[in-house]
C-alpha cells in the first residue's frame, strides 16, 4: 500500500482516480488546488504525487517546482496528470523533473497499473 497525494481541481477526475487507487488498497489524499496540495505534500511526504498541471490558484508546473525545491522532497516521485498533447506533456514533465506523465482522459483499466509501475520503478 502506498500513500498517494492527488492534486486535481476537477472533482470528477479526482473522485475517479481516488476510487481506482483506493480499490487497489492505496491510501489517497485529494487536494483541490495548488496551495492545499503543497501543504498536504509537505505534511505527509507521500510515496507519490499525481498532479494536474492546470490548477486554479498556482500552475501545476510551479507547484512541482516548489516541491522540488524542498531538499527533503527533491526526489519525491511526481507524475504529471494533464490534458496537454502527449509530446508537450512529456517534454514539460521531463523539464520540470517529473518521473512520468499520465494524459487525460485516463484509461481506467490501465491507470492503477501505470501508477504502481511508476512506484515500483522508483523504489527499485
Amino acid at each position: 500500500m502506498s500513500l498517494i497525494v492527488v492534486i486535481e481541481d476537477n472533482p470528477d477526475n479526482s473522485r475517479m482516480v481516488a476510487k481506482l487507487l483506493r480499490a487497489a488498497s492505496h491510501k489517497v489524499i485529494v487536494a483541490e488546488d495548488g496551495e492545499t496540495g503543497l501543504t498536504t505534500v509537505f505534511e505527509h511526504h507521500p510515496d507519490l504525487v499525481l498532479i494536474d498541471l492546470g490548477l486554479p490558484d498556482i500552475d501545476g508546473q510551479t507547484v512541482i517546482a516548489l516541491i522540488k525545491q524542498q531538499p527533503d522532497l527533491a526526489n519525491m516521485p511526481i507524475i504529471a496528470f494533464t490534458a496537454f498533447q502527449p509530446d508537450v506533456a512529456q517534454n514539460m514533465a521531463t523539464a520540470y523533473g517529473c518521473h512520468g506523465v499520465i494524459t487525460k482522459p485516463i484509461d481506467t483499466r490501465a491507470f492503477v497499473g501505470q501508477i504502481e509501475g511508476f512506484i515500483a520503478k522508483l523504489v527499485s
Binding site: D9, T62, A65
Partner: protein, 294 residues
C-alpha cells in the same frame, strides 16, 4: 471592415426563453465557477479561483457590465464570455460554454452580445485569441468576421540558474526603480497582445526591471513581473540579440528559484529563438484574430 450579420443568434437565444446577464450581477467566485465548468474539457483548461478571476478582471480592464453569463430556460448558467475595453478597442476573452449545455448557439449568442457591447462603447476593433486546435471556436469567430493576424506562443522555463557565462557576467545590469518602469515601458517598440500591453503591466504589481549597456555600446532593458512563485509578463527591448540573452541570463541568475511563464510571444519574432536558447519550452499556441468594425 466587417459586415456584421444581424444579431440573429442573440435574438433567437433570448426569444427561446434564455437570458444574457451582465457578469456584474455575479461575484468572482461565481464567475470562476461558471468559467471553470465551461472550460473543463478544453485543450488547455486554465482554471481560475476567485482571486485569479478578480486579478484578471482588474489587470486586463474587463468590463463586467459588458461581459455576459448565458442562462438557459431552467435558470442554469450555460456559459460565460468576457469583454475588455481600452479606448476604441475591445478584447473578447474567457469565452466558454458548459459541455452539457452546448449547442443552441449559446457561444454565438454571447459573442454577438459582446460585440454589441463593444460597439456601444465606441470600439472600432475587437481582438481575441483562440487556442490552436480549437476549431469550433475558430470557425465561430470566422463566421462573425474575425480574421487571423498572427500566431502566438505560450512558453515556460522551469526554475534553474543559467549555465555560468563569463561574457554575460562581465556586464553589470542596472536595476530599474519602480518609478522608472512606466517611462521605460512607454518607449517599447514591440506589438504586444492585449495581456502583454503596457496598460496590462501597469495594472499589475511587483514589476521589476534591468538595463544593460555593453562596452561596445549595445544596450537593452527588460521589465517583468515577479509574483510570489513565478516570473511573467516579460518585455524586452534590445539593440542586439546578445544583449537580449544577457538580460534573460541576469534575470534567471537573480531569480533561480522562480518558475517562468511567458504568454503570447509572436512565433515569427526572433525573441522566440532567444527564449529557446535560454531554456524555454513551447506549451501551446494561440491564433490572434481581429474584427474591424465600421
Amino acid at each position: 471592415m466587417s459586415n456584421l450579420p444581424p444579431s440573429s443568434a442573440r435574438t433567437a437565444f433570448i426569444n427561446a426563453g434564455n437570458q444574457l446577464i451582465p457578469t456584474s450581477a455575479y461575484n468572482y467566485t461565481e464567475l470562476a465557477e461558471i468559467y471553470n465548468q465551461a472550460r473543463v474539457d478544453y485543450i488547455v483548461p486554465m482554471p481560475m479561483n476567485n482571486k485569479r478571476m478578480q486579478e484578471y478582471v482588474q489587470n486586463y480592464d474587463i468590463s463586467l457590465d459588458g461581459s455576459v453569463v448565458a442562462i438557459n430556460g431552467d435558470n442554469l448558467p450555460c456559459g460565460v464570455g468576457m469583454l475588455g475595453l481600452r479606448d476604441k478597442r475591445g478584447w473578447i476573452t474567457r469565452l466558454g460554454v458548459i459541455p452539457d449545455r452546448r449547442k443552441h448557439h449559446v457561444g454565438q449568442a454571447m459573442m454577438e452580445s459582446l460585440i454589441g457591447s463593444a460597439q456601444d462603447q465606441g470600439a472600432t476593433l475587437i481582438q481575441l485569441e483562440v487556442i490552436l486546435g480549437n476549431d469550433p471556436a475558430r470557425l465561430l469567430f470566422e463566421k462573425l468576421g474575425f480574421v487571423p493576424t498572427r500566431e502566438l506562443l505560450v512558453i515556460r522555463r522551469p526554475p534553474s540558474a543559467p549555465t555560468p557565462n563569463l561574457a554575460y557576467d562581465s556586464l553589470k545590469p542596472i536595476t530599474l526603480s519602480e518609478a522608472d518602469i512606466p517611462a521605460i515601458l512607454a518607449s517599447r517598440t514591440d506589438t504586444p497582445s492585449w495581456i502583454e500591453e503596457t496598460r496590462s503591466l501597469l495594472n499589475t504589481t511587483n514589476l521589476r526591471g534591468l538595463r544593460l549597456v555593453s562596452d561596445a555600446g549595445e544596450s537593452g532593458w527588460i521589465v517583468f513581473q515577479r509574483s510570489p512563485f513565478q516570473l511573467t509578463h516579460f518585455v524586452l527591448n534590445y539593440s542586439d540579440t546578445w544583449v537580449a540573452k544577457a538580460l534573460l541570463y541576469h534575470v534567471h541568475k537573480e531569480h533561480p528559484m522562480q518558475d517562468t511563464k511567458i504568454e503570447n510571444v509572436d512565433v515569427g519574432d526572433q525573441l522566440w529563438d532567444i527564449y529557446q536558447q535560454m531554456g524555454y519550452l513551447e506549451i501551446f499556441r494561440r491564433t490572434e484574430m481581429f474584427l474591424h468594425l465600421k
